[in-house]
Symmetry: C2
Subunit: 378 residues, 2 copies
């Protein structure tokens, strides 16, 4: 195959973490790349996320997804190192583990079963009794029954990661531009290019990484449209004293993610309400009720931020990666709740496919939705 640096331009639609990571990966392999977005770069779901890296804590029953998330977790630190080096911005990767707390018998038993499963997989973890859990995380409610600490999970500051990627791409002379008008052009067989506010731009490859907006790109043939739907998540942040909460924690119904700047992120609701992204009374009540049930001593801390984002959900909760019926038009969307975790691995998979034709697991193909064997869930 022709080397990337000798081929035509690759245009990525969507300047979220997925699109920016892919641009970064392709550029460092020598490709010519440009990124277009209708909105401000890295300010939609990529900005709204909490940046949890929870491939182990989340019990992923779906095997292809479990493999993808585990690969992504292992892949992540090297990617962050590369971005940090290329940008001089530190995305604050933390790999100090995730604490999952149990407040009743049933959840304690689930944690114990989960610990046995992790042991069988050879994943480092510690099962903590109530006393040990409170010692590790004194903010937990004193009714805590026990907790599971995984060792290699953690979080990244997704907003900083977005800024780091933008800085790196700027240094690498990759254009990342906002255009209200974005329309793709196809011929009968393949993608030809993109029309933006600056006119038509031919492209050898166009990758749709537009998240929840991916199905709505103008000019795209129907058979290439991914079945993606926005799933709203509301969030809030508290200001806490240094290390008041030390680890990312699951508290049963909500999670908390400590940031080095002293914020504690609390998330998240999940609602299929279209492109409505309002902060609601009901959503915020849910978060506050749940976080204060799990960690009552947070009640006195300042509520410093409230926001929401639209996750790109798919029918089977797997992302949609790779080829479409039209040559040169690829998808990298549908990452639902795992966009941050999966951004580096997605970039690697897409770049391998683009550079060398390496096939991506068909479990993530757009084609699965037209095949009868496709497991299309709720």
């Amino acid at each position: 195959m022709t080397a990337l640096n000798e081929r035509g331009e690759i245009v990525i639609i969507g300047a979220g973490l997925i699109g920016l990571s892919l641009a970064f990966e392709l550029r460092r392999r020598g490709a010519r790349v440009a990124v277009f977005d209708r909105f401000e770069p890295a300010k939609a779901a990529s900005w709204a996320a909490a940046g949890m890296l929870a491939a182990r804590t989340e019990e992923i029953a779906d095997e292809p997804m479990r493999v993808l998330c585990n690969d992504a977790l292992e892949n992540f630190p090297a990617f962050v190192d590369a971005v940090r080096e290329a940008s001089a911005v530190d995305p604050q990767l933390r790999r100090d583990g995730i604490v999952q707390a149990a407040f009743d018998d049933a959840s304690l038993e689930r944690l114990q079963a989960r610990a046995r499963a992790l042991a069988a997989e050879g994943v480092g973890h510690t099962l903590l009794d109530a006393r040990e859990a409170l010692q590790l995380e004194p903010a937990l409610a004193s009714t805590v029954r026990g907790a599971l600490l995984t060792h290699d999970e953690g979080s990244v500051d997704n907003r900083l990661l977005g800024r780091a990627l933008l800085a790196a791409l700027a240094r690498m002379h990759v254009q990342v531009a906002t255009s209200e008008e974005i329309e793709l052009e196809f011929d009968a067989r393949r993608v030809c290019g993109v029309r933006t506010r600056w006119g038509f731009r031919p492209a050898e490859i166009v990758v749709n990484a537009a998240g929840a907006w991916a199905p709505h790109l103008a000019g795209v043939p129907d058979e290439c449209r991914p079945p993606v739907e926005p799933v709203k998540g509301e969030m809030l942040a508290l200001a806490m004293p240094h290390d008041f909460v030390r680890h990312t924690m699951w508290l049963g119904g909500c999670y908390v993610v400590p940031r080095t700047d002293g914020r504690l992120l609390v998330g998240a609701t999940g609602e299929r309400v279209g492109f409505d992204h309002r902060i609601t009374a009901g959503g915020q009540r849910q978060l506050l009720d749940r976080v204060l049930a799990g960690a009552p001593s947070l009640a006195g801390f300042s509520l410093v931020e409230q926001w929401s984002g639209l996750r790109p959900g798919t029918p089977d909760e797997r992302p949609i990666l790779g080829r479409t019926p039209r040559d040169g038009y690829l998808l990298a969307t549908g990452h639902y709740r795992n966009g941050v975790l999966l951004c580096a691995r997605t970039a690697e998979l897409l770049a391998d496919e683009i550079e060398r034709g390496t096939p991506i697991d068909p479990a993530f193909s757009l084609a699965r939705f037209s095949n009868n064997e496709a497991a299309v869930g709720a």
Copy 2:
């Protein structure tokens, strides 16, 4: 007595609704007046309030306070008319009544007793059964047992009232100025004037209307310091469709006040935590839990604003009005939860005392706290 327009300047410390109303009242009686505040005018408790005019709905057991609040309610419309006329700003006075809802037997019985008491006082009201309550206010939880509608209560937009007063005072050439430095000067017998960032300003009368900050004015002799303490109230506002909630309502544990701009104000917490005015997880949870218990259909509406204010609380929850041991130094503070309702009546009482020496009910005097008969509560 010498007419006001022939006397020395009156300086008011505190540009909240109390201080501004008094400045307005004195100025229209011919006095020379200036107002100083350390902070932005009308932006502390006066801005944070909900502007409920609830002299009837609140069961005020304390007789002098009950009389003061009832007088204030009757007084209010004429005052708002005068301010509106002088400023061309409409503070959106609403006198369509207040709905108090009951969700269990005990509160229903309390409402019925309250209705009998209002009847005895000759105060217009309607007792509503569950069906009538839901007809009047469909946003109420369907578990509502009944409601009491008073007829002459309502609300004023306290932020607009502040702006109206500022506009009126500007038109009347009354200086309202912000000075970080404010220090009073006294001789052995009386107040002499005020030192601000512009230097010393002699004054015949100085009125302390500094709300929660009233005890902390620099230069004031100890025996003139009012026993006032900040009581934090957290608030929030939802955006609602036109008339979704029609009346100011008490929902058991919180109140809601509809604004003509489509916001629904929800308040308020009450905490004695000094000058801490943070918006907290616990405070906001309390408001959301309570308002959504009383009106669950609000859950889907946007949370558009959250704020807090520091009410000036006194030991017996009465304001402190009038003379102090030093001649010419008067107090108009300690209005606790009733500052908006009481601003016009306070202005009238203070102006009468200043202009004509009309004594104010000693129940509101600073002296009550040094007298043995003073009812000093929690």
